[in-house]
């Protein structure tokens, strides 16, 4: 039996893949007893103390506090027989060493979760295509980032940014992040206490146009918001009404070191997004096409919809019509709703419609299951529900998996279009740009019309230019004249 034992982070809660080192309760050189608490680890389920598996002397601690460690990775090594004299050269580790190096096996385990490379690719427990770990049943590691709830006096993300820092016992809670409050109105007579001043008809107009009053600076008396303010906002970034901007990532307040550089550890949603984007970008050959459409009629149709009694309490947005257009176009071109699976193409009879959303946690793409079967009203409710869930930070991994086709609403950011990257496993993604009032040739004359640009990226392995173009054209036709398209297609 080896005298030096490395303790691997266990799965502390039925299918977890990682945990964060909150606090070390022992330090290098300490003599510890069996079951003495050695470290506090927080997982997605709980913050727990881990008791020592062996009695002995702490020889090395491999990860500082604040580090997120994958299950199966060595976190501490213990000399189980410290009284037996010194070890050979590699093991004379100075007890005072701040952050000793783990053995080669430990380092390998950091790179290749969850085991030490003993398992061949494709086998249970071994690496599988796409960087996942193959498992027989249960929760698949890796593709869903573990979420953890914030704790009181939370440990800062910055704490993880110094891998070379010495291991210190129990870091003091960092300076709290001061919430950035909006600057007061420049004229000094802005509304106090965060209350937005606006007359009821203006509020109604804002609601109809989907403008969030809290985002406007009022030009009226006492800083109140006027009808003109609302209309200006609506025409500048009409899609600002879009419910899908959940919250601007407010974490941009950087703390720069002396070198005027900030190092942000890549983890969580950011890490997952990066993995997915790189994988998709370098496996699926993307083609992007654009189409500019006069959506004036569609906007008017939306207005009429809002006026209907039974739609009074429903959130109606241009995105709803875009989603409907996509779903109807898919019915006409089912091939776009498919997956490239190597030696076969999987075409799906159901559309799990993904809606990309910016949240405080970063980009997430929850999807509406079997959206093609929903009525317009059901679709509107599903989209509202999806947003509220995302806003509350409660989007579950199940909500985010299984998407078949996605819409990204870049219009909310006031831009016209983009060349979106396909979510892995999907073959088409539509970018919906801002709806702007633009000069447009209408019935032989140049008139101000509501115009938007659609951008469709598709996987060229499956979708040829002809199919992609027809699909995009159908979406455009629907948005140009929804009523006619509904009559013609359904």
């Amino acid at each position: 039996m080896s005298r030096i034992k490395e303790f691997n982070l266990p799965d502390l809660g039925e299918g977890l893949t990682e945990g964060e080192i909150l606090a070390w309760l022992v330090k290098v050189g300490d003599v510890i007893e069996l079951n003495q608490p050695i470290v506090e680890v927080e997982t997605a389920k709980a913050a727990v103390e881990i008791p020592a598996k062996w009695a002995g002397q702490v020889r090395a601690i491999f990860h500082p506090e604040g580090t997120t460690v994958e299950v199966g990775t060595p976190i501490i090594s213990i000399d189980t027989d410290p009284g037996a004299g010194p070890l050979d050269e590699s093991t004379t580790g100075t007890p005072a060493a701040d952050l000793p190096t783990p053995s080669a096996a430990s380092l390998a385990a950091v790179e290749v979760a969850p085991s030490e490379g003993a398992v061949e690719p494709g086998l249970i427990g071994g690496p599988a295509p796409g960087g996942r770990t193959a498992v027989l049943v249960g929760y698949g590691p890796r593709t869903t980032a573990a979420k953890r709830r914030p704790r009181k006096g939370g440990v800062p993300a910055q704490a993880t940014s110094a891998p070379a820092a010495p291991v210190q016992p129990a870091p003091v809670a960092p300076a709290p992040v001061v919430p950035v409050s909006p600057a007061p109105a420049a004229n000094g007579n802005g509304p106090a206490g965060g209350l937005v001043l606006a007359k009821p008809p203006v509020r109604k107009l804002a609601k109809d146009l989907g403008v969030d009053l809290a985002t406007l600076t009022g030009s009226g008396p006492l800083g109140s918001i006027t009808r003109e303010d609302v209309q200006r906002a609506a025409s500048a970034t009409p899609a600002a009404a879009e419910p899908l901007t959940v919250a601007a990532p407010a974490t941009a307040v950087a703390s720069f070191g002396a070198d005027r550089e900030q190092r942000i550890p890549v983890k969580g949603v950011r890490k997952l997004t990066a993995e997915n984007m790189s994988r998709s970008a370098f496996t699926a050959p993307h083609v992007t096409e654009f189409l500019t459409v006069d959506v004036t009629r569609a906007m008017k149709a939306l207005d009429r919809l809002r006026e209907r009694r039974e739609w009074r309490d429903v959130r109606v947005s241009p995105l709803l019509l875009v989603a409907k257009a996509v779903l109807l176009a898919v019915k006409r071109h089912p091939m776009v709703n498919s997956t490239w699976a190597g030696d076969e193409i999987v075409v799906k009879d159901y559309v799990n419609l993904g809606i990309a959303a910016a949240t405080e946690r970063g980009l997430i793409v929850p999807n509406i299951k079997d959206a093609g079967r929903l009525s317009l009203r059901e679709l509107a409710d599903a989209m509202t529900g999806l947003v509220q869930t995302a806003k509350a930070g409660k989007t579950s991994p199940a909500d985010m998996s299984g998407g078949t086709l996605t819409i990204t609403n870049v219009g909310v950011f006031g831009v016209d279009t983009g060349t979106p990257i396909l979510p892995p496993g999907e073959s088409a993604i539509l970018a919906f740009g801002a709806v702007r009032e633009m000069p447009w040739v209408h019935k032989g004359k140049v008139k101000p019309r509501q115009v938007t640009t659609l951008g469709l990226s598709f996987d060229h392995r499956i979708i040829d230019g002809e199919l992609g173009s027809k699909f995009l054209r159908d979406i455009g036709d629907f948005l140009a004249d929804p009523e006619a398209a509904l009559l013609a297609w359904t």
């Binding site: 303790f7 691997n8 266990p10 799965d11 502390l12 809660g13 039925e14 069996l34 079951n35 389920k45 709980a46 913050a47 727990v48 103390e49 881990i50 008791p51 598996k53 061949e120 494709g122 086998l123 249970i124 709830r149």
Partner: protein, 391 residues
């Protein structure tokens, strides 16, 4: 047969001498040992039944030893889970007295239906404490013979065992094994959360109308995972029994003596053919629901501290010391025994063999079945489809 009528209970309704109410000031709580270790001679239940115990010094010491051992073994299992040796563990920390008191009240012929937390009752039934660890390590299904030990398998489904127990108890009654001093009784364990389950309420109905010799033993540990008691019930749980037509009593679940007295009385009623009853053992889960849970997210430290002061072992120790029933040597010996047994338990857990996955088909039916054989064959082919498969 008017089971709600206390006139028919065997020892109830005597003109009991006025006895002290529980030290908590809660008149509903049957208590024989206060949190400070002060002995109360007798306590009166809500139906007038007088509860008392008369143990020898040796028996008192035995109960203390049970409590300490059960807690220590449970702590070792929790540690083993944290060290990656068990997939999960449901700790009984804080509920030792309710389990040891009721477990020791069982007679040899009585049958128990546990949840997945009854490690203390299991211990009292004479089952090797390693048995549930195999289940939570995922290497076997529990492993003890329910008929041999008169202790059913752990039931994970919340409340389901109360129906199993009701059916079993009805069978006992129909077999004519009740009605004498040596009759047979059945006990069903469950928690406060389970009282909201349909199964438990159905069991109440059936046990009541069929006069089943069954004791419903509810350990009210105040939380159904994270859901507090006030989200479970608007009336004290023991009062639920009245609506179903059988007696209910609330006992201090951190008092091993009262837990014993109340359970023994209810079991004796059952074995004499007087039907079911409900015991609400009022206690507190000091640890997490399971090792996958973090109780600091839903309850406050001061609440835990308040219950810490009611610790079942500390009060028993104080009592033994005050009455000079046990000395320091005894306490040291018990601690040493607990340490030895927990180390032994750990060693045996680490030595548990990992069974081949295909053996999961072996114990479904005593003699197999064609369908099962086909499933086994399919599964074997599947396992062999992996590269490097040894078989």
């Amino acid at each position: 047969m008017a089971k709600g009528d206390p006139g028919v209970t065997s020892r109830g309704r005597r003109a009991a001498p006025r006895s002290r109410k529980g030290a908590t000031g809660d008149p509903q709580l049957v208590q024989l040992l206060t949190a400070d270790g002060e002995r109360i001679e007798s306590a009166t239940g809500p139906d007038g039944t007088e509860y008392r115990v008369d143990f020898t010094d040796e028996e008192y010491r035995g109960l203390y030893r049970d409590l300490v051992l059960v807690r220590k073994l449970d702590a070792e299992a929790t540690a083993l889970q944290r060290q990656g040796e068990l997939g999960l563990w449901a700790s009984l920390l804080g509920q030792e007295a309710a389990q040891v008191g009721s477990g020791r009240a069982l007679r040899t012929q009585d049958m128990a239906f546990p949840t997945y937390r009854e490690h203390g009752v299991l211990y009292c039934r004479g089952i090797d404490p390693i048995m549930p660890l195999g289940l939570f390590r995922g290497v076997d299904q529990g492993g003890w013979d329910p008929n041999e030990f008169k202790f059913n398998m752990y039931t994970i489904v919340i409340g389901a065992q109360t129906l199993h127990a009701t059916g079993y108890a009805m069978g006992v009654h129909m077999d004519g094994k009740t009605g004498t001093e040596d009759g047979e009784a059945v006990i069903a364990y469950f928690g406060d959360g389970a009282t909201s389950q349909g199964d438990v309420n159905e069991a109440f109905v059936w046990a009541s109308v069929f006069n089943a010799p069954l004791v419903f033993f509810c350990q009210n540990n105040q939380y159904a995972i994270s859901e507090p008691l006030e989200r479970q019930t608007r009336v004290p749980l023991y009062q639920r029994a009245g609506g179903f037509g059988f007696p209910g009593v609330r006992v201090d679940g951190n008092d091993v003596l009262a837990s014993y007295a109340v359970t023994r009385h209810a079991l004796d009623n059952a074995r004499l053919g007087q039907g079911p009853s409900l015991i609400e053992a009022y206690t507190y889960r000091m640890g997490a629901h399971t090792t996958s849970d973090d109780p600091t997210r839903y309850r406050i430290a001061s609440e835990v501290e308040a219950w810490q002061a009611k610790d079942p072992i500390a009060r028993m120790k104080a009592f033994l010391e005050k009455q000079q029933i046990a000395d320091a040597d005894f306490f040291a010996a018990v601690d040493e025994q607990a340490r030895t047994e927990s180390v032994h338990l750990r060693e045996r857990v680490l030595d548990m063999p990992n069974p081949e996955p295909v053996t999961m088909f072996d114990h479904v039916y005593p003699n197999g079945s064609p369908e099962l054989d086909e499933q086994r064959a399919q599964f074997s082919r599947y396992m062999e489809s992996f590269e490097g498969s040894a078989h």
